[in-house]
Symmetry: C2
Subunit: 229 residues, 2 copies
DNA sequence: TGTACATCAGTGAACGCGCGTTCACTGATGTAC
DNA sequence: TGTACATCAGTGAACGCGCGTTCACTGATGTAC
């Protein structure tokens, strides 16, 4: 009278599909457990217990928990590309009527709202990435670093194609893109903090701070080329 | 024929001093082990083994490894105050002859150099703080958050006393201070990455990026008050 | 200064427990004919 | 379509090991007189 289906037979399906389903169960179980601990303290047996499979079944999918962690990184950061794309696209589309700074202000607000939404929709993935970005498991740290680097390049490329970027060196653009990516990660982490029970800041406070910061960056950006008087 | 002194008798001393010495040994042993793992996976026996004392001795100093972690946080971030003070003082002292932007440029360079120096002098402490800032041990995370908040207030207060801050609201100043603190932590973490064997960036690249970012922030800061045209 | 007793930092042995890993297995799915 | 064999995802029992915690202890330091 168990709730789980101990053998594949319980649901008629292909072997491939069933294996993927078990893999998903393991990843989801791990993600749940990682809400309150870091990967380096996550046990293989802990994951299989939460997933409702035998410990040995783990090895059909991952060599160890570090490998599972890398899979989670890929999943979490693949899910970020659409949002980054949306922000870049929005930023590129200038409004017709409002003043430059007014439309910029609303673009900033929309970007921050998109980040808030993403964190609300995928809190576990976001928490995992921010936690493991500097965490104790090297392959996972490396995977996150590589992916964030790719985001920076992506943002830099997006910025490069726009009129305000004229006269900017490639290195300056990468610097600016890096600021945006860093800011994204920090703001996402702030939204997570705000969602916790004992939070010191509200979600709106985090958003207000994020917008203020983006305003400062936008100002610096506007005056970048004439910075030496 | 052991290298360690298993009993206090080996070195004539007061009880208080000997206890503090053992505590130090435990903290140092832990700090060493934390170079390559995170606190949540650090074992009590692992620490005592590295420190050369019996496992049970641990309890004379800390209830568990989380408490040891909080002690390390306090140590690590107390050591940061002098540097922040130095940067603030330096920033306040304008040079007489050079142009405003030239003296600013050299102040930026000095600040980044101070960060680089601090990381070189205290790599283990810095690594520990950046790793545990979003790590899996709640009391440690909370302690780091509180301390960084205090730094932000400290920097905000330092900025408030200076002429360029005239017209700035308290909230805007705290935002700016937060940017500087965040930037400090990220740059420190970057210097750590650069010092690793398989590093993708050199120390000078990290420094150059940090300076570029500070330049952008300085520009935004200069135009903050007239930002609505 | 000397003595008798109290304190307490550190010891070492013992405990029960959950860990990661291995192994031969089972039985449903997949494939060849 | 039917049959015989191969594959392989998941099982469950077993293993040795290191963990955190407890306990009575030792012996140097501290204190009272």
């Amino acid at each position: 009278m168990s709730h789980t289906s101990p053998t594949p037979a319980a649901v008629a399906t292909t072997r491939r599909a069933q294996k993927l389903r078990t893999r998903r169960t393991l990843l989801d179980a791990a993600l749940g457990l990682l809400e309150h601990q870091s990967l380096s303290s996550l046990g293989l047996r802990e994951v299989t217990r939460a997933a409702g499979v035998a410990p040995a079944a783990f090895y059909r999918h991952f060599a160890d928990t570090a490998e599972l962690g890398v899979a989670l990184v890929e999943e979490a950061l693949d899910g970020l590309h659409p949002m980054v794309g949306a922000i870049l696209t929005d930023t590129a589309t200038g409004s017709g009527t409002a003043s430059a700074s007014a439309s910029e202000e609303s673009r900033i607000a929309r970007s921050v709202a998109l980040i808030a939404r993403h964190v609300r929709d995928h809190p576990a993935h976001v928490r995992f990435v921010t936690r493991e970005q500097h965490g104790g498991v090297r392959p996972v740290r490396a995977a996150i670093g590589t992916q964030l680097q790719r985001f920076t390049e992506e943002v830099a490329a997006g910025l490069a194609g726009r009129p305000e970027a004229e006269g900017w060196s490639a290195e300056d653009l990468r610097m600016l893109a890096g600021i945006y990516v860093d800011h994204l990660v920090m703001t996402a982490s702030g939204f997570l903090d705000a969602a916790e029970e004992g939070a010191t800041r509200t979600e709106e406070q985090v958003a207000a701070l994020a917008r203020r910061q983006l305003r400062l960056v936008a100002l610096g950006r506007r005056h970048w080329l004439d910075r030496d008087r």
